[in-house]
Symmetry: D2
Subunit: 433 residues, 4 copies
């Protein structure tokens, strides 16, 4: 259970080829500068044999942990039998298995009539598809997106993404930016401001094709919208003839507890964008759930080679079978979320002014400064914990552990985090002295 | 060797869930309306047990055929050992293996100093990255793209794609459209027209950030540019301070014979976009080769969850090991290409005016009308051959067999195609009579 | 002094050619459906000989009234002597006269170092020039514009204009919309929201080239920003490297009292856009005042045929000579503004909930509904008063009398307005009963 | 008749205020660096009393010369009688007079059913209106514009303008650029290329809202399209559901001979854009002729303060009365055009390779280099002739004399031009020796 190996690295780690031949765009590897080889559950192992508790989880693409046994077995069986690996958007048995399970276990219990559009297997591709469809259906161009939203970096999605660093000063268009829930403090109900803007014929906001939102902004700093706010936004969308698109790429697949982050909020989105943990195994897969009223696509109007990543269908079906057939999984997530919450409350006391953010297994701690957060991550990594930041100033420590992390391991990781925060704060004080 | 099974289907094929729950955007499955289960080499099998010769090859994403044994073994070994499945853009042993092989087997022999940017695992994502980088490096916005070019359907890439059906009337921007090589007949050297436009300060063409081209336009109808034309375009790019981006998504990885479609043309692109057959196994993977002079990315400026699809790195490394370590593979491709060419010349005689298109294993037959081409595909499918069309009017039958298709099977497929063309023409004549 | 003639119209008014040959885009003539022939001071005369008190004043383009004697004389003298009528942007004596007076009477007393850019003679053209210059100077694309702002209808300016009716659903780009001062009630300091958006690296608001504002939004409903708010916006512009552009097209030239609407606010805009009453006589003229630090234009980079409307220079110089050489004019305006204010307060009592809007001679009454306001205008016109509405719902009666309207005539007009409001309200009540 | 005065300047010319207070954007005044005071017919006078023959004519805004007597008289009478100076888009007697004459003298004789939209009084504003209307009517966004086209510098028009200097690297959108008639030499029929692009569903050219062209490109270098080419373009517009917009701002009002530059070509444009010489007197005025089928404007959807420049209506009506009531004016223009042609042919012999450009009174000489052309203009100005250049490299000497220039004065101007060309060439040879 102790993830930190006593043994020394087994040999020199050659990372020269990365410096020599990988583009400067590489990112995560700069902070976590080792070479990973294998992983299982919530532990990653590098080539020196050292293990790390994974509180990053493929940035929420590994909600069920690494190499989850049921999925792994299903995948090995599929490959071993020469199961189709890629099938464009042909019918395949693997796709049918996934669709049937998704219908039975996810859509039907919620009374959702939606159809599934398999897009290119990235979240940004699915966002692009959703935006194009909303524009086609409504005949409008404008899209409402929110401060600190993150929806990908291809040009259409990037226009909706708030991050200036990623926006690169490019001439992006077609988006009206509106403050997210709570953005300007308690005094401002941002849904009321949006209502005013939409109702005002000279407010400068064109009639929208869509309102696009995350219920919990993952990259934006774990900002969680209230259910009441999401409901008001959904109502505005309906009143103004706009499609409601919920981007559940990071918050979906159980990350906040239930399968969809908006479960229980009383809203039925017109379109839902999913990716990341959809395949369960970390394999590229993405889709848009399309309300049948809006399924106005022509065949192959939005296309792409890898819409049929059959391996991902196999593991995705196994994930649904294993985790979502019984209601207990949501309880398991809730228990872990409570544990995380309790620990974070204690950790927060180390940093005057620190605030808890997020909900479910998508919680974190705003430590008020990106430098401090970065030091925490570095110290944590030295001690065997992989954790990252998010937020406008990278000031939010983000606990994205796999949803099925064993409780002792979760506690161990949180303890490592606590120590790292305490030491980072102490180091800061020393430096300041 | 006979791909057409004598046995009857083993049971009812349930396709209802596709109609019920898959979006109307689905495409290929409409023409090839069966449920595929497994595949090996150049044969696909549906759930009735029927086999089909595959002349589509995942739209050139399966250049080495389905479930190629060496890659399959490597992948099974990796998964079996809990090898990392997804690793964001962390360093991984699998990525290192791929990079080292790509450097040794592909880049160094060609004297290419390029670095590898792993993008989201779709061609369109890599095109978006290349366009953003070119705009950043040059500080310019305009991109030159060509008639009938196809580069993907996310908004940035879609602006460069010629297909009006996919463009959906969206307000796309930032692209100047120029006729491709041979577009307006022999009388017009389109590179001379482009030269004039670029040199003309009031020609209405802003100084370009990039010139983006395919050497053989796959979706556009297998239009092959001459080496001389590509060289002139490359020279224009240099003269005008634009980056030359070659989109080798469909034409690369040996499809035209050598690894890159521009090998032997005497040009060094600033950026090369690759995807499709890069992983060898049909797994989602894409990259941009970036000349070091232009590697001006900030860390994670272009990002995405699935940049580290480690399974794809494993099979991609195996593909390089297996097929590109020795020079013989290009000869094998050339032999098959000659065979395809010879057959297509014979088949062309069935259709007055039909023209051969493309080069290498990216050849086809322009039968002058989309209706005829569609009938050919339907007849072929009934007889056990999967083949698709491309071109502005879907009028080009496109032979995209795996590059290692056994010669007898290739001949058998071409014979099926010949029969389908002959019968489709006869049917047309009957209908017209 | 009685503007309502006792005599009957002198003959049939032929308006058929307007219906037959003028585009449906014509607007004001629909409400004020008569044919005007002449005008003097604050009175307009139609071809039946009837006179109207003019509370529209060319939509603030006739601040000194119609055919103001001093300007008329100067213009007749100029034309009579074959003075240059149009001179592109050549040096002309008329332009020099204007520039010297503008320097001496307007710029120097305020310590403004600005240069004058003569643009095409429309406000929208000057706004376009200012936006292009700000983008050139900063190398940025985004412009901050405000709810209910109105800056013209050519594509660059239209992107900044809030009116959805004028925006026509066109794909306008390059603008971030922010609530104007007071837009969302007293509880929201919109400058604080803008500050937050500008400081937030993932707020989705790209670094701006400019912040563009009217201190009093004329078309937007006579919304007057406080001096403190304008100062905060000016500070934000400086802090974030954006140019502050004040659009004084409607509020300038004494409309709010002093020459510039921002006089006395303690801000020095980087660029000021002027038009409408600039020529004094209603002749087309527009300019941008450019702080020398930003005068980075290349010769003729922004151009246009009628930048040298010499007739306008002649009357503009006479206007400065006549009205702005002595400080008394501002006092005269203030006296009239007080009179308007007092009357509007009384009139407001006729309409429960009505609110006074604007400041200076740019005041009006928000009667809460566009239908009521339209009826008031119609009744007023029948009685010899020309007055128009503005605001998002055309619900604000806008008193835009010439600044030098004789006090008795001003009183007479306000009395007509009072009667029209009272009768319109009574009519509404009758209709509702 | 000798325009060059013997007398010395009457005093110092103070131009300091221009340097001190006029923006660096000023252009023409740099080449013609004197201060103009008055002008009559084809002669301009500066404040030293020196006279110049005007071969620039307000860049074709003064087709009838300066201070044409009939218009001058009408304008003095109108102003003297307190005629309305500006009237927004109210009905005015002056507007009616203009409309009736325009109907009777221009539209009816040609059988044109078009209506008149009065726009903001600049050509670029009218172009913007035409583009917006075409987009509204068709529901499409793309506009076809041509190499070397010039349509103004506000953002919508600028996107159609070819000049890179004016385009300023701004992110302009919504336009497909196509080679103009003759652009790529005799071998390429550019209308055939456009036909191919429009018919090709993957050519990358979206279905166009409009095709926008000048029959003679004034700023682009006096490139005259053939009637056959214009007809083919008109046919393409009809076939593809696009509006044909002819920008007759510079070539209209008799500049090429008949009133419209397309008279006699057998085409009926959907929209015609006019400005420059429309008022006859150099006063700002612009309009769009709208075929009634397309007059889908809502009231004031496109608006602007100075749409009712009544002074311009007065002179415009007088211009129609004076010059277009009898057919003889076109003959007068033709006679002068022949004279210009004959002289230019002689002058061309001074410059090896020089080519005549344009047609009617819109002719010029391509002297192959901008430096030489600039020297010619400078020498000409020293000798009392005002003439400018156009073309991609400012290499075309442009003779834009008033259409009614007395023949002896026209000859005198052409002789001055001849001498300037000869001396400039000699100077070049000397410098090269």
């Amino acid at each position: 259970m102790n993830p930190i190996p006593a043994i020394a690295p087994t040999g020199p780690q050659d990372r020269a080829v990365f410096a020599r031949r990988e583009s400067a765009v590489r990112g995560y590897c700069r902070r976590f500068d080792t070479v990973f080889t294998s992983a299982r559950g919530s532990l990653m192992r590098d080539e020196s044999g050292r293990e790390y508790i994974d509180f990053l989880a493929g940035c929420a693409a590994l909600n069920y942990g690494h190499n989850e046994p049921a999925m792994k077995e299903a995948l090995l069986r599929h490959i071993g039998a020469d199961g189709l690996a890629m099938g464009l958007d042909l019918h395949s048995a693997a796709k049918r298995d996934f669709l049937e399970r998704f219908e039975t276990l996810i859509l039907q219990p919620r009374g959702l009539p939606h159809r599934v559009q398999f897009t290119g297997p990235t979240g940004t591709n699915a966002v692009e598809a959703a935006l194009k469809l909303a524009r086609k259906v409504t005949g409008r161009h404008n899209v409402i997106a929110f401060t600190n939203g993150y929806h990908g970096v291809t040009m259409g999605a990037l226009a909706t993404t708030g991050n200036r660093y990623n926006r690169m000063g490019l001439p992006l268009s077609g988006v009206t930016r509106v403050p997210f829930d709570g953005y300007h403090g308690e005094g401002l109900d941002t849904s009321a401001l949006l209502a005013q803007l939409l109702e005002d014929p000279s407010g400068g906001v064109d009639a929208p094709a869509a309102i696009l939102l995350e219920t919990v902004q993952g990259e934006g700093g774990l900002n969680a919208a209230s259910a009441a706010w999401v409901q008001r936004i959904a109502l505005l969308a309906r009143q103004h003839g706009a499609l409601l698109i919920i981007d559940d790429v990071q918050a979906g697949c159980g990350r906040t507890g239930p399968f969809f982050s908006f479960d229980g909020m009383g809203v039925v989105p017109d379109l839902v964008v999913m990716s990341k943990s959809l395949s369960g195994f970390g394999l590229p897969m993405a889709l848009v759930l399309v309300h049948p009223d809006h399924d106005r696509w022509q065949p192959a109007e939005h296309n792409g080679t890898f819409r049929g990543n059959t391996h991902a269908f196999v593991t995705a079906a196994a994930a649904l079978d294993t985790y979502w057939r019984e209601p207990g999984f949501t309880d398991e997530i809730a228990r872990r979320a409570a544990l995380v919450h309790a620990h974070l409350e204690r950790i927060a006391r180390e940093v005057p002014g620190a605030r808890l953010k997020g909900r479910g297994m998508m919680q974190g701690l705003d430590v008020l400064g990106g430098d401090l957060a970065a030091r925490v991550c570095t110290l944590a990594f030295e001690r065997g914990l992989i954790i990252e930041t998010s937020g406008a100033h990278d000031q939010v420590l983000k606990v994205l552990a796999p949803l099925n992390t064993p409780l002792p391991l979760l506690e161990q990781g949180l303890a490592l985090l606590h120590g790292a925060v305490a030491d980072a704060v102490a180091g800061t004080l020393r430096r300041a002295a």
